[in-house]
């Protein structure tokens, strides 16, 4: 097991403990019992799990736009054989229903690894990790619009705004490193549904995903304005002087102490986050492994490397969003549009898995590679080469801590249109992730507007077959 690194930097032990206890979100009015409880416990302090966790950190790789299960991890020879045969199709809307020809995958599948798991030629390098991958071929979701489906994959809700998976984990488990956010989203371009995707919803805002926009200004206000060092020190001394005097009255002590702690954490972030996010500090050999070129701060590969650096520094949940709401996996016109998308992520994802494994991080890190929905077995549009959105069946991957590698779970029919065995709803997927992190999804609740809310609403079953 590889444990998160010790906290370094300028914090002394007293400040460090204080920072843990009050790393955030302390409502001045303990208006609700929950808020008071949270305040007492420290909103991001590590918390006990419901059962022994298999994974202590989560890495989500979200491939935006709906990658095709039929062209990646769910091979359908029958579909290839029936290529061109018209079948009744359902459109996104009822009026779009029409007979459309089936579309065989233009990509070749081969058995990979010891397990012989079938992976298409779109992912030659990721395929090398077949024995670590658990391919769930029987995912299904509720809505075929990008926006709603992306939200559902992140929050369990396609409709009303709800907290994101990473926010729930921050709320339920806390985090290891108070100098860094507990949920970091590496996201150069916003996916569908925008910031709602990593929103804390009704949970205290400290649990919201902190978006890192790879590049020069990755976290808002992280970089100090250009000024002499002595001026920063002057400000620090003046603030301490002012606050010390102000808290001479006892009823102010708690507030001043809590606010002081947030300034310490902020300075901790200023100190630690630039290093954590600076992939240039990696040896050339490692950068070459991922495919990060000299001076590159924005590529997907660079984000993968950042993700590893954040995970090893004790961030609870790191999410990488590969691309935004345009120019993504939404291949209506031509399945060959998947080629550049896959090329962009294949090497780096394989390097990331290999790197996590080599460092022992994969022993306690769960990796979830997913998308919002699948694609139809029939063609879409006049070109006859692309596929439409499809919610009734799609594929998502798990890998790493606590997961059986080299298996395919669930089964779709001969053309990949519907599920014939072991359906896994997005609620089940979430329940399984929480289970691996040591959380009973039915007990991770938050009382809001008079009712207990859960990530999995009132559903969700842990998919026991994929647990190692």
């Amino acid at each position: 097991m590889n444990h998160p690194r010790e906290i370094r930097g300028t914090l002394d032990r007293r400040c460090f403990l204080g920072a843990i206890a009050t790393a955030a979100g302390v409502p001045l009015h303990a208006a609700l019992a929950q808020a008071a409880h949270d305040q007492g416990a420290g909103l991001r302090a590590p918390r006990p799990t419901h059962h022994a966790p298999r994974a202590r950190r989560l890495l989500v790789v979200f491939l935006t736009g709906g990658f095709s299960h039929l062209d990646t991890f769910d091979p359908k020879p029958t579909l290839t054989r029936l290529h061109g045969k018209p079948v009744p199709s359902t459109g996104l809307r009822p009026e779009e229903a029409a007979a459309r020809p089936l579309l065989g995958s233009p990509f070749r599948f081969t058995p990979r690894g010891q397990s012989g798991l079938m992976v298409s030629e779109l992912f030659p390098r990721l395929g090398a990790f077949a024995d670590d991958l658990c391919v769930i071929r029987s995912m299904h979701t509720d809505i075929v619009e990008h926006f709603q489906a992306v939200l559902a994959m992140h929050t369990g809700s396609a409709t009303v705004p709800m907290p994101s998976l990473g926010s729930w984990l921050s709320h339920g488990l806390g985090t290891f490193n108070p100098n860094l956010p507990s949920y970091v989203v590496l996201c150069e371009r916003l996916p569908y549904a925008g910031v709602q995707v990593f929103s804390s919803g009704f949970l205290p805002p400290i649990h919201e995903g902190v978006r890192v926009i790879p590049g020069a200004h990755s976290i808002a206000d992280l970089e100090p304005p250009p000024r002499p060092l002595a001026l920063a020190e002057l400000e620090r001394m003046m603030l301490r002087d002012i606050e010390d005097r102000y808290q001479a009255e006892p009823h102010r002590q708690a507030r001043v102490r809590d606010r002081g702690a947030t300034f310490e954490v902020a300075r901790g972030m200023m100190h630690e986050a630039p290093d954590a996010l600076d992939t240039a500090r990696e040896p050339a050999r490692v950068r070459a492994l991922y495919g990060v070129a000299e001076g590159d701060r924005t590529s997907f590969a660079s984000q993968c490397l950042m993700a590893r650096r954040l995970l090893e520094r004790g961030v609870r949940t790191v999410e990488i969003v590969d691309t935004g709401s345009s120019d993504n996996w939404d291949a209506h016109g031509n399945m060959h549009d998947h080629v550049p998308k896959a090329l962009r992520v294949d090497r780096a994802l394989a390097a990331l898995l290999g790197d996590l494994k080599a460092r022992g991080l994969l022993d306690d890190t769960l990796v979830a590679i997913c998308t919002e929905f699948g694609r139809t077995p029939w063609t879409d549009g006049p070109s006859g080469k692309g596929r439409n959105h499809h919610a009734r069946a799609f594929t998502a991957l798990l890998a790493g801590a606590g997961v059986k590698g080299g298996i395919a779970h669930g089964q779709t029919d001969d053309i990949g249109e519907s599920i014939v065995a072991n359906p896994v709803h997005i609620h089940d997927y979430h329940a399984t992730i929480l289970h691996l992190m040591g959380i009973d999804h039915t007990r991770l609740v938050y009382r809001y507007a008079g009712r207990d809310f859960r990530l999995t609403d009132v559903d969700g079953e842990v998919v026991r077959e994929v647990l190692a």
């Binding site: 009050t22 955030a24 979100g25 409502p27 001045l28 009015h29 208006a31 609700l32 008071a36 619009e145 990008h146 926006f147 709603q148 409709t159 009303v160 549904a193 925008g194 910031v195 205290p204 400290i206 976290i219 808002a220 206000d221 992280l222 100090p224 304005p225 000024r227 002499p228 002595a230 001026l231 002057l234 400000e235 001394m237 003046m238 603030l239 002087d241 002012i242 102000y246 808290q247 009255e249 006892p250 009823h251 102010r252 507030r255 606010r259 947030t262 300034f263 954490v265 902020a266 901790g268 972030m269 200023m270 709401s325 345009s326 939404d330 507007a449 008079g450 009712r451 009132v458 559903d459």
Partner: protein
């Protein structure tokens, strides 16, 4: 399967079910079993019809069973006919007959039977018992209460007497009266959201008359900035946004008219009953000439029009939008969480599912505007449904109009694909069982006006209590009911029920004047207490639920920004107006490339453009409004991102530099400068200790910098930034 009769049955089996003692099996029953039994079994086995002599109305009924014998043997699923029937293993015993239950529902029933077929003890059969039970306080009429007599002589007002009556028994003694300077700052932020200016401070502190405070209250209540502060609270409740929330988040430039209407309504103290009626049915009032302000009334329906949009085309996923309309209406005016009743009878409150669809029907019979969405670009569907203000087509508002009236069907389990019986639109009791139901809509009407009129009846148990509580909440930081939009059984009980009823009664008696109520509250001695309290009182009431001291609170996002702008001298006090959206002909946003903008301005924060899909970067850091859901109380967090903002954000630095320049212009003497600075930011002079320390540090810095040009301005700008991040600036006592 359930037909038209099911509604009657739903009503019959309605019961105010309460969660009991956190028994997981009861939760399981409520979440998994009850909905299935209600939607799939009761229509034929329960009310008028009891097919095969079997009744699902009670656990006893199931155990007694019907013609074929016991339907449920608790603990033994394999011996239970119910389980065999839903499994459909025997061809002649397959239930429900029309459509098999989902596999998961069958598994749930098996589990439920095996775990003992647990059923809440106060449930059905219970239809009879629930009538005996004392109604929940909020659903019972407001009682006129006389304030208690305060024998200690402390109380100066009725409000004081209500509060003081609880203190001695609880071991609490009131804090001292707050110093006048503290009071000035508190009242100014509270009523107008801005700190006092130097002139205002001087004038108030110099006014030694016993009426000085009352005059201050009146002056602030009359300030045009008052509406900008108090209107914003209502905008939170109304989930106000400047965009629609569809997948491309199209702008709604006309929403600003509704924002300005709210601000003006508070400024001119529009009676609350008219405020409610205008927002729910202003278009109808204008048509019927039942309002003195027909233009404003039409704009006011922006409350409904601003319901969240979904999807990529006009009126797509419309049931979700109407769900938001129902939910927000319930929370805002009634303090009820109606959303629970979308799928089943409300679990906690006596709100049958049909009430939900009665309200839903009223809104489904309403014509909503369409502000654009992805299809605006791809298919050129024009914006439509905007309403003309005052019959003048040149000014269009984002409001609603009467649509095609139609009663809607209950959506069983909240699924539009499973229609149940038809409900008359508008008519419902919404838990107010002592009242006649809201009048059903006349032919050709949506029923919104009847509903609005019902809500503002003086004897309505919720309307006045809910708004009086909201007003109290913003003055004292916490409502007498700590869940201001949930007065139901799952919400918090009032800490001072008599006081709440007294406030509600006063409000109605004053002709629904919000300002009169506020004047009464801020004139009370309780409002004027200091924040520090004797240790025994702190220990006896750590959360200050008894109001024996004043709870300090962090300024909200708007006040932080507005106060910095005021102090730096850059605040642009112009009111109202539109955002600089691009011209409509250029609108081309899609879900792949949604609308996203931040418009810089030095005007007050209530005029910042807020979107549904993107948070405003400043408001997001300080727990700003949620533009997607009706919000009754904002979180007041203290986070590292806020600290980063104060440490490094350019806006803070700009205001700090501007303040430093003002200080330099006002005085060259460091002590005098410091006095200007702390007066501006803290409303007080520095203590000798503070002066010595801070001026010493500044001098030391300048000396270390060799007194180079610029070092003086740098140091004072740094001091200004530090003052902005100090607790004394951020927390109002």
């Amino acid at each position: 399967m359930a037909g038209r009769g099911s509604l009657l049955l739903l009503a019959l089996i309605w019961t105010a079910c309460r969660a009991e003692g956190g028994d997981a099996r009861l939760d399981f029953f409520e979440s998994k079993i009850r909905p299935v039994l209600v939607s799939s079994c009761l229509p034929c086995h329960g009310g008028k019809k009891t097919e095969s002599g079997l009744s699902f109305r009670s656990r006893e009924g199931l155990i007694a069973g019907g013609d074929r014998g016991p339907a449920v043997v608790p603990g033994k699923a394999e011996s239970s006919l119910l389980v065999a029937a839903v499994r459909g293993v025997e061809p002649d015993l397959r239930m429900p007959p029309a459509r098999a239950l989902p596999v998961q529902a069958v598994a749930d029933i098996v589990r439920w039977v095996n775990e003992g077929a647990v059923w809440p003890s106060d449930d059905p059969a219970l239809a009879a018992r629930s009538a005996d039970r004392k109604p929940h306080w909020a659903f019972a009429r407001v009682r006129p209460v006389a304030p208690p007599v305060d024998r200690t002589g402390w109380a100066e007002s009725a409000i004081d007497a209500f509060l003081a009556a609880r203190w001695s028994a609880s071991g609490v003694i009131p804090a001292r009266d707050a110093p006048r300077a503290t009071l000035l700052r508190r009242l100014s932020f509270d009523l107008i959201g801005l700190p006092p200016t130097e002139d205002e401070r001087t004038a108030f502190l110099a006014d030694k008359s016993p009426l000085a405070y009352a005059r201050l209250v009146d002056r602030l209540l009359a300030s045009p900035h008052y509406g900008e502060r108090w209107g914003r609270y209502w905008m939170d409740v109304a989930r106000y946004a400047d965009t629609a929330g569809d997948n491309a988040d199209y702008p709604v430039p006309e929403a600003a008219l509704y924002r300005d209407w709210i601000i003006n309504a508070f400024n001119r103290d529009l009676p609350y009953d008219q405020f409610v009626r205008a927002q729910l049915a202003g278009d109808v009032l204008a048509r019927l000439k039942q309002t003195v302000d027909p233009q404003g009334a039409v704009i006011a329906t922006g409350f409904l029009a601003l319901s969240r949009r979904y999807g990529t085309g006009p009126y797509e996923l419309w049931h979700l939008t109407l769900e938001d309309t129902v939910d927000t209406t319930g929370r805002a005016f009634m303090g009820l969480t109606l959303r629970c009743a979308r799928c089943h009878d409300h679990k906690f409150d006596p709100i049958p599912q049909r009430d939900y669809y009665a309200l839903y029907g009223a809104f489904a019979s309403t014509a909503f505007p369409y502000a654009g969405s992805e299809e605006f670009w791809t298919r050129k569907t024009p914006r439509k449904g905007f309403v003309a203000v005052g019959g003048n087509e040149s000014t269009l508002a984002y409001g609603v109009a009467e649509g095609k009236p139609a009663d809607v069907a209950v959506q069983r389990r909240g699924d539009p694909g499973q229609p149940g019986g038809i409900v008359p639109r508008g008519a419902g009791r919404f838990a107010c069982l002592e009242m006649p139901p809201a009048g059903s809509a006349g032919a050709g009407e949506s029923g919104r006006l009847a509903l609005a009129n019902w809500l503002v009846r003086p004897d309505h148990p919720l309307t006045a209590r809910v708004i009086a509580n909201r007003i109290w909440q913003h003055h004292f930081g916490r409502g007498l009911v700590a869940t201001p939009s949930n007065f139901g059984r799952s919400g918090a009980a009032p800490t001072h029920p008599e006081l709440l009823d007294w406030l509600a009664t006063r409000l109605v008696a004053s002709g629904w004047s919000i300002k009169a109520l506020q004047r009464e509250i801020v004139m009370s001695r309780a409002y004027r207490l200091a924040s520090n309290a004797p240790a025994p009182s702190l220990a006896a009431d750590p959360e200050n639920r008894l109001y024996a001291r004043f709870s300090p609170a962090r300024l909200d996002a708007e006040a932080i920004r507005d106060a910095m702008l005021l102090v730096s001298g850059k605040l642009d006090r112009r009111m109202h107006g539109h955002h600089p959206f691009p011209p409509i002909k250029d609108w081309r946003w899609t879900q792949h490339s949604p609308f996203k903008a931040v418009y810089q301005t030095d005007r007050r924060s209530v005029y910042l453009m807020t979107q549904r899909l993107v948070k405003h970067p400043f408001l997001a850091v300080f727990d700003g409004p949620d533009t997607n859901v009706s919000t009754d109380a904002r979180t007041r967090s203290t986070t590292p991102t806020q600290a980063l903002y104060f440490l490094n954000n350019p806006f803070v630095r700009e205001q700090a530099s501007a303040l430093a320049d003002r200080l330099a212009a006002a005085a060259s003497n460091p002590q005098a400068r410091l006095e200007h600075a702390t007066l501006a930011v803290w409303d007080r002079l520095p203590t000798p200790g503070e002066s010595a320390s801070l001026l010493g540090m500044i001098a030391h810095y300048k000396a270390a910098a060799g007194n180079r040009p610029g070092s003086d301005r740098e140091a004072w700008a740094s001091l200004a930034a530090v003052l902005f991040s100090s607790s004394e600036f951020l927390d109002v006592e």
